[in-house]
């Protein structure tokens, strides 16, 4: 398993602190705000409340209300003004309370955030990181469980990043904030507090262009990200196959080399994501492998995903969401296939 140390040579791991994913977000925001005065965090409920998930707790006290800005309740206003700040050399880090409430901001996202760099021939950069919790499994109301990363991935001109562990969160969020591209940073809220691990206290970044090999294996490649990584890990414990798990981390652009290399080695692939299946990211992954690694395939690729439905009410959300079992079934199916 590739650890932080393997991937970033100069991370000092002498000092670590045990933290969960949301505290990793919080710690990174603290460090980045302290490091660079052009960074501003904005959104509603982020100040005295510290965010509905406490991701911005303590930031207002430490940095004041010009760096940590409680805004009116307008996603379009937040993303649109952040874009304007970015055009003028700032590095805004807007927060959208839930992914399902990003939609009012879609106009600004498409018109300004994603397009500005291109339409000015590279003159104007849009360094901004739009953070939002995403995903289901928390028994919330409608639009609080969305996993619609495909809308973002389908848009050229933005990076889409999604961590699955606390230490990864810290490195990827810092890298996103320092990136000169606009980044959609998806935080898997189901696992905000699910697990802790020792995270280096010093600053560090992780590459935004590299997938993470969670586990090496020789029979099947399992591609996944975010809150689903944990299901991938428990599924492989129970199958009669040596599964290689890849956490994509960056959903756009994809680390295609690592994906193809792995599938060329294993000859089989399963994709695990909680988003709806049709035109979910799995569709693209499957197409890529089909186009560039067909010769290696020993079985069709299978997608263990959510269904093409609205996220259901909470009495049956567990039936919608992929879990260990669904992942395991998909692995067994591709293992059972013979050309």
């Amino acid at each position: 398993m590739s650890s932080i140390q393997d991937r970033v040579a100069d991370v000092n791991t002498d000092n670590t602190e045990e933290m969960n994913l949301v505290s990793a977000v919080n710690r990174t925001l603290h460090q980045e705000l302290a490091r660079d005065s052009s960074i501003r965090v904005l959104g509603y409920d982020i100040g005295p409340l510290g965010g509905v998930y406490r991701a911005t707790e303590g930031l207002l006290d430490e940095f004041g209300n010009k760096r940590v800005i409680d805004t009116p309740l307008s996603e379009n206003g937040i993303v649109g003004t952040a874009a304007g700040m970015a055009m003028r050399g700032e590095r805004p880090v807007p927060e959208i309370e839930f992914m399902g409430f990003f939609y009012p901001a879609f106009g600004q996202f498409m018109y300004a955030v994603a397009k500005m760099y291109k339409r000015t021939g590279g003159e104007i950069e849009m360094p901004m990181t739009i953070r939002m919790p995403y995903g289901g499994g928390v028994k919330a109301l409608e639009y609080h469980q969305e996993s619609t990363e495909s809308y973002f991935v389908h848009t050229p001109g933005v990076r889409v990043v999604c961590p699955s562990t606390p230490s990864q969160t810290k490195g990827l969020l810092a890298a996103s904030i320092r990136s000169d591209d606009p980044v959609i940073f998806l935080e898997p809220k189901k696992i905000y507090r699910g697990m802790t691990e020792p995270v280096p206290t010093d600053e560090y970044t992780l590459s935004l262009n590299e997938a993470r090999i969670v586990r090496e294996g020789s029979d099947v490649t399992l591609l996944t990200w975010g809150a689903m990584v944990r299901h991938a890990k428990s599924a492989v414990a129970d199958v009669d196959a040596d599964v290689e798990i890849i956490d994509l981390c960056s959903l756009s652009p994809l680390d295609v080399e690592s994906i193809l290399e792995s599938v060329s080695k294993t000859g089989r692939c399963v994709i695990l994501h909680e988003a709806r299946r049709t035109l979910g990211l799995g569709a693209e992954l499957s197409a890529l492998i089909n186009e560039y690694a067909l010769d290696a395939l020993k079985a069709p690729i299978k997608r263990a995903t959510g269904y093409d439905v609205h996220f259901p009410g909470h009495d049956i959300e567990d039936d919608y969401l992929p879990d260990d079992d669904r992942a395991r079934y998909a692995i067994e199916a591709v293992m059972s296939y013979e050309f």
Partner: protein
């Protein structure tokens, strides 16, 4: 916890008021018969008892999340009471009294919080028979304003006399949809009444952080929509101004915007803790003294319309109705997982058939992924 909390500001009180904070009259009351007045009181009581019960159900894990109307009841109730059967109402999560006034069943209200699929609720509950047309409640805020104005446009274009009323929060007036809706309402002169239930807070954001305009009512000026600003804790004031607005809308006079000034006494909802962001006690005492239900009760008692005996009878009746409703909801079974595929599109597609079958297999402990031809699931 943050050292900083928001210092609260009291909104200007130069608004329309009939019933003073002590339950004393400052103007003539609107014409309402004694049984109508008692009906309003009953709805006040019903709201408090029902919402308290739902809070308990949240604490015991039966429902995931509950928002309360506590302290704001006069605004949705006064607004709703001004409507007529066959009118339309678009609302969010903080208008329980409006629903109860128009006989929405309590079981339906509770069930909307239990996370059952809508199909399950429709099949397993006796649905109320309201003469009012309710939109479904809205989770995304602001969206209902535009929809309500569209509903009113449909009536206007068809020369119908129906009126549409929509409730929105102060925070929601920052969303684009609010402004789009108001603009269309003005341009198309529609039969809509847009009510802002200004309770001073949008989760942790106080209204002074929401807008730099002195009042929310004045936003309507920009759209050429006449506006009113009323004491939102005064049932008579809200009712009277809403009734005038409804009348104007019904007779071709166009839209009205009404800002009802009230206060959120409790948390935003059960997942919120306002101690984290608001410096509280003084404001709360101030607004508690202006409680809409106490005020109305004082008035009714001073007029001899309500006495201890009637009050007790009302409470007993409500307790029984709430207990019944809870029983109904508790007897509902969970949704069939398959229900998630219902009402996506008319007709059925390959994907739908296929994914339904996959889900079924998974539930039966069989591998859902063994179809390699798209022709079915032959093992």
């Amino acid at each position: 916890m943050s050292q900083e909390t928001w210092a609260e500001e009291r909104p200007p009180e130069d608004f329309y008021r009939i019933l003073g904070p002590e339950g004393e009259l400052q103007r003539d009351v609107p014409e309402l018969a004694d049984d109508e007045l008692l009906g309003l009181y009953r709805t006040f009581v019903a709201t408090r008892v029902l919402e308290e019960k739902m809070l308990n159900m949240q604490r015991s894990g039966e429902v995931s999340l509950v928002a309360q109307t506590l302290g704001e009841e006069a605004t949705p109730l006064g607004g709703a009471a001004a409507l007529q059967p066959d009118d339309w109402m678009f609302y969010t999560y903080r208008q329980t009294p409006a629903l109860l006034h128009w006989d929405q069943s309590m079981a339906e209200i509770i069930a909307s919080a239990t996370g059952h699929e809508p199909e399950t609720i429709a099949e397993q509950l006796e649905m109320g028979d309201s003469p009012m047309n309710f939109s479904p409640d809205y989770t995304p805020i602001g969206v209902n304003v535009t929809n309500a104005v569209g509903s009113a446009m449909a009536d206007a274009f068809n020369d119908r006399e129906t009126v549409t009323m929509v409730f929105t929060g102060d925070g929601s007036t920052s969303e684009g949809s609010f402004h789009d809706g108001m603009n269309f309402a003005g341009v198309f002169d529609v039969p809509a009444v847009i009510v802002c239930q200004n309770n001073q807070w949008a989760i942790s954001e106080p209204s002074q952080r929401q807008t730099a305009s002195e009042t929310i009512a004045q936003k309507a000026n920009a759209y050429g929509v006449p506006s009113e600003r009323v004491d939102g804790n005064d049932i008579f004031a809200v009712y009277e101004k809403a009734r005038e607005a409804v009348e104007r809308a019904r007779t071709g006079g166009g839209a009205t915007f009404i800002e009802c000034v009230t206060y959120r006494m409790g948390a935003h909802n059960t997942s919120d803790n306002p101690d984290r962001y608001r410096d509280d006690s003084e404001q709360r005492d101030y607004w508690k003294d202006r409680d809409p239900v106490d005020r109305f009760e004082t008035y009714l008692r001073s007029e001899g319309i309500l006495d201890d005996e009637t009050d007790k009878a009302i409470h007993d009746e409500i307790d029984e109705r709430v207990a019944d409703a809870v029983e109904q909801v508790r007897s509902m079974s969970n949704s069939e997982p398959d229900r998630m595929f219902d009402h996506i599109l008319h007709g059925e597609s390959w994907h739908q058939r296929h994914q339904r079958e996959e889900l079924q297999r998974e539930l039966n402990g069989k591998n859902p992924f063994i179809d390699f031809t798209g022709e079915g699931f032959d093992e």
